[in-house]
């Protein structure tokens, strides 16, 4: 049987599933089997490296070991200020803007647009591929960070119990959820940006500044950000400093719903733009 005949006999959903699978395979291969992925992985592993250095310092250089509760607060600051705000942000910027804009830069976008893919399937395929790739990288980093922070060393005593038997397990799950939501949120922002503007770095720099200054903003403005909702979901609060303006965290269902709604809206905008996408490589 001819391949096209096989496709024709398949139902629409089955074909889309196969197409999404092919896109996912293609993107994951491009992300992980290339040297280009190394800097992204290296950036993602920075917090784990830092916590690893702390373990070494405690064990070999007599640095002060912290009680589990104190470590939880320190980790909360590291997670929110460094990991989510910067590491996840940069990983998402690299992975998601590259999904479309990178193809234009490498003049290979036509390869996708010449396939019998509906543009919305094309874009969703790209988004899912980016989500899986970026989440794998940052979740792997998170999976290293938590044992390094609590179980391996650097905590006076009871770190492992805190992580595996105490509240730590719940915290770990919450951190994982926040990480995936952060990837989805920032990913959708960057995918939409990559389709809307030629150089997404300019708005990305502005967004980075806005997210970074979030704690200094008044409560109303805080809500126009991704980080505010992510922080609302974080299990352990931390002291953001004397200049920070306090704000009530958004309830978890509302925070998750709001973030997913934002992702949906941004993807709709991106799909609308993708439908009008043309292959114009000049000026890139």
């Amino acid at each position: 049987m001819n391949g096209q005949a096989a496709v024709a006999q398949s139902t629409g959903m089955r074909v889309w599933r196969r197409q999404l699978g092919a896109m996912l395979w293609l993107e994951l291969r491009k992300t992980f089997l290339r040297w280009r992925a190394l800097p992204v992985v290296a950036v993602a592993l920075l917090p784990a490296l830092l916590l690893g250095m702390r373990v070494v310092a405690v064990r070999l250089a007599d640095a002060r070991a912290l009680p589990a509760a104190e470590m939880a607060t320190m980790y909360a600051a590291l997670f929110q200020l460094f990991f989510v705000r910067l590491v996840v942000f940069f990983v998402c910027f690299t992975v998601f803007t590259y999904l479309v804009r990178g193809e234009i830069a490498e003049r290979s976008l036509h390869f996708y647009l010449m396939a019998p893919l509906r543009r919305d399937v094309f874009l969703l395929g790209k988004f899912v591929a980016g989500l899986v790739a970026a989440s794998s990288i940052v979740l792997a980093s998170l999976a290293l960070q938590l044992p390094l922070a609590f179980a391996v060393g650097g905590v006076t005593e009871g770190g492992a119990a805190y992580l595996f038997e105490g509240p730590g397990a719940g915290h770990a799950a919450a951190y994982a959820l926040v990480t995936v939501l952060a990837v989805a949120g920032y990913g959708a922002v960057f995918l939409a940006l990559a389709l809307l503007v030629k150089n997404p770095m300019i708005p990305a720099a502005a967004i980075l500044g806005w997210e970074w200054l979030n704690s200094l903003l008044p409560p109303v403005l805080k809500k126009i950000s991704v980080i505010h909702y992510l922080q609302s979901l974080c299990p352990v609060p931390f002291d953001a400093g004397p200049l920070a303006l306090p704000a009530e965290p958004t309830p978890a269902p509302l925070a998750i719903g709001g973030l997913l709604l934002m992702v949906g809206v941004l993807l709709t905008v991106a799909i609308h733009r993708a439908r009008r996408l043309e292959v114009l490589y000049t000026g890139e």
């Binding site: 074909v15 293609l26 491009k30 089997l33 290979s108 390869f111 010449m114 893919l117 490589y281």
Partner: protein, 356 residues
């Protein structure tokens, strides 16, 4: 009386073996045309309706009305004339600023259906990074939603057809220009498309690969498929295409069979025919008595005559009469300017690309 065509290619020579040799040397110019591959009333496969494309303020193509049917249609024009724009528009990689395009009744807004029936070999030399030739063809078929087995079988067949089996496992980045061209072609034909859009498909191919590829195109055309081919090499277009579309400055300046286009130009640009015979002066005297003959010039070695006529049909009838009288021994008749190159030069006015 011996009749042969000087320096003519095989297809022209074939035309001479006919009961009316002189006339058929010109009219039956192409074997593939004689085989009747081109339907007399072409089925509309690619239709451009009043299509314009502007890149900002720069004109791509303007008000194109064009219908392309089965067989091989060549897009010919100088650099920047709008050939690739037309092809990208047909394939839906560009959106028209105005007008509408249909390919087999589908619009470019239906890529999920359109690209199952169209194969496009683009001008772009770039490939997704890190891919081997096999990946390039196979993954493209997987993007069609084909089951793995079917995709592998079709990819293998397409790669075999373009003679890239041995190089298929190597990275495309390390391919030569010709190999890149062939793997792009494999990708374009892999899913058995009804319509093939080929942007300069013979570029970079060595003579052998070129001949094989031309044969492949002919085989596709013989199956009733639609091939839209752009080329700069005019003698290739002459050899390959059933129809030509001449594009210049974003406008279609002529379309149709080359002879037809040439005939339409006859009043403005009289047809030139070179006649090799033993008594060119006598022949010159005979042809000058005809009102459609504009000029007759003796060749340097006094063995030939170049005639410019506004009516080719009457001129060939005259030649038949002269030959029948047996006074002048006509050795060969060679149309001097009814090829794409001449049509191109007359219509576009530039030195034809690829001409030597």
């Amino acid at each position: 009386m011996s009749r042969a065509v000087l320096g003519a290619d095989s297809k022209r020579a074939e035309g001479v073996v006919n009961t009316t040799p002189v006339a058929s040397a010109v009219l039956g110019a192409d074997s593939k045309r004689a085989e009747g591959v081109v339907p007399t009333t072409p089925v509309a496969s690619i239709v451009f309706r009043d299509v314009s494309k502007f890149y900002g303020e720069v004109l791509g193509v303007n008000r194109i009305d064009l219908t392309i049917g089965p067989g091989i249609t060549a897009l010919v024009g100088p650099n920047g004339s709008g050939k690739s724009t037309l092809m990208n528009l047909a394939a839906g990689l560009l959106r028209p600023t105005e007008g509408a395009i249909e390919v087999l009744g589908l619009t470019p807004d239906q890529p999920d259906q359109l690209f199952r029936r169209i194969g496009y070999c683009t001008q772009y030399e770039s490939f997704p990074r890190g891919m081997t030739g096999w990946d390039f063809v196979h993954l493209y078929l997987r993007l069609h939603g084909m089951p793995r087995g079917d995709a592998e079988r079709l990819a293998r067949r397409a790669i075999e057809r373009v003679g890239m089996v041995e190089a298929a496992t190597r990275r495309v980045g390390a391919y030569s220009k010709g190999m890149k061209q062939r793997i792009k072609l494999a990708q374009a034909i892999a899913h058995d498309p009804q319509v093939l859009v080929l942007d300069e498909p013979l570029n970079g191919l060595d003579p052998l690969a070129r001949a094989e590829t031309v044969e492949l195109f002919r085989a596709f055309a013989a199956e009733g498929r639609v091939l839209l081919v752009s080329s700069h090499v005019l003698h290739e277009v002459d050899e390959l295409a059933d129809r030509v579309v001449l594009v210049h400055g974003g406008y279609v300046v002529a379309e149709g069979a080359v002879e037809g286009v040439r005939d339409e130009l006859a009043a403005e640009r009289p047809l030139q025919v070179f006649v090799r015979c033993d008594q060119p002066s006598l022949l010159a005297a005979r042809v000058f008595s005809e009102d459609h003959v504009v000029e007759a010039r003796l060749d340097g070695d006094r063995r030939g005559l170049l005639v410019r006529t506004e009516n080719a049909e009457r001129f060939y009838l005259l030649l038949n009469r002269v030959a029948g009288e047996g006074v002048v021994d006509i050795e060969a008749v060679l149309p001097a300017d009814d090829d794409v190159q001449s049509v191109y030069q007359y219509l576009i006015g530039a030195v034809a690309p690829g001409s030597s």
